[in-house]
């Protein structure tokens, strides 16, 4: 099977993730959509590794996973501390810097 289909699938998943980031309000769901985008890019990296016949793409996908794990820890801690002070996880409610 041609690896191209994986790239198309990755493009579709990335777009759906971006759509979710744009339209969802709940910060946690927005964050999950960011994870979906990272996963989609990982899929294309693994496919590129296969197309090019070397493992560098897989190594980069591995590092993306590590960084994503660190990012989730910090992001969720930030969401928790915002929730503690404002009793809400809606991204619309964090508007103190707006005015």
């Amino acid at each position: 099977m041609s690896p191209d289909y994986y790239l198309y699938l990755s493009a579709v998943l990335f777009t759906i993730g971006a759509l979710g980031v744009l339209i969802r309000r709940n910060a946690i769901v927005v964050f999950m959509c960011v994870e979906l985008m990272l996963n989609a890019v990982n899929l294309s990296l693994v496919t590129f590794a296969r197309i090019n016949g070397n493992l560098d793409g897989q190594i980069i996908a591995f590092f993306v996973m590590v960084v994503a794990a660190a990012e989730v820890v910090i992001g969720l801690a930030i969401i928790m501390s915002i929730f503690r002070s404002r009793r809400s996880t809606s991204v619309d409610d964090a508007n103190l810097l707006k005015y």
Binding site: M1, P3, Y5, Y6, L7, Y8, L9, L13, F14, T15, I16, G17, A18, L19, G20, L22, I23, R24, R25, N26, I28, V29, F31, M32, C33, E35, L36, N39, N42, L43, V46, T47, A49, R50, I51, G53, N54, L55, D56, Q58, I59, A61, F63, M65, V66, V67, A69, A70, V73, I74, L76, A77, I78, I79, M80, S81, F83, R84, T89, S90
Partner: protein, 269 residues
């Protein structure tokens, strides 16, 4: 045999079957993640997408990444998400009020345009290169039916060319752990109130029920927590149902529902 299949990524026909079954599932799961009202449903659908991606990694001769995907993403990251969801409150549904007028439509249009752009760009460039395959990098080759294997090949790269990035990762992880501790830490401004002090306050305030709250009611067909107890005059003892069930979800059953259920049970006899 299984090692050889993992290294080779399976036969092409099998791969196509796996792809055409799992790709629609992944796309539907991703769409469900965007459009699910409940955040918990979104998290479960995201798990579905991540697991199908792990299957794709296996099909693409990347068994190590498939395992890492299951362990790190589906196992650790998503459980962290669910943990925070439970802390924040499962009922935190999205507000449907649009703060920016027409933002949803605009976002959908932008996403559609972006998808078209990506797909057209891919279709325009993909014909120019030919897939080499990973047999040269990790096996199996003609002389060696197993080859050196995906994990060994990745380890050789990771600890030679990428060793500095790998070491930098450890600094990143330590920083992230430290940052999470700093963010989650809360300085106590007042001394901790003991249980004794809280109870004294409650009695002094008056009006509160001093005895333990009544338990949920026991009917012939129900002893569930959502069934309120009845008072002697037939009215509901609302305090017998956990506050969470009655207020935030409206799941407490009322007398009429319980009685009609009882009638429904008795009718056939």
């Amino acid at each position: 045999m299984s090692t050889a299949i993992l290294a080779a990524g399976g036969a092409p026909a099998h791969e196509a079957v796996v792809f055409w079954i799992l790709a629609p599932i992944a796309v539907i799961g991703a769409l469900g993640l965007v459009f699910a009202r409940s955040a918990v449903h979104a998290a479960v659908l995201l798990a579905l997408v991540m697991l199908s991606l792990a299957a794709f990694y296996t099909a693409e001769a990347a068994p190590f990444l498939a395992v890492v995907q299951v362990v790190v993403y589906t196992g650790a990251v998503l459980m962290l998400f669910l943990f925070v969801l439970m802390l924040v409150g499962v009922d935190s549904a999205d507000s449907l009020v649009e703060t920016l007028r027409g933002q949803r439509i605009a976002a959908t249009l932008v996403a559609l345009g972006f998808a078209v752009l990506l797909v057209v760009a891919l279709a325009g460039t993909l014909d120019s290169f030919k897939s080499v395959g990973l047999a040269g990098a990790q096996g199996p080759t003609n002389g060696d039916p197993v080859g050196k294997g995906n994990v060994v090949a990745i380890a050789e790269l990771l600890f030679s060319r990428y060793v500095f990035a790998f070491e930098a990762t450890s600094a990143l992880l330590i920083t992230a752990g430290l940052g999470a501790m700093v963010l989650a830490h809360r300085e106590r401004t007042a001394p901790r109130r003991t249980q004794r002090e809280r109870m004294l306050e409650r009695v002094a305030r008056g009006g509160a029920q001093l005895a333990p709250l009544p338990g949920p009611g026991v009917y012939a067909d129900h002893d569930a927590v959502d069934t309120p107890a009845l008072l002697p005059d037939g009215s509901l003892a609302l305090t017998s149902v956990p506050e969470y069930l009655q207020i935030s979800r409206g799941q407490a059953r009322d007398v009429a529902a319980v009685e009609s259920a009882d009638r429904g049970l008795e009718a056939p006899r």
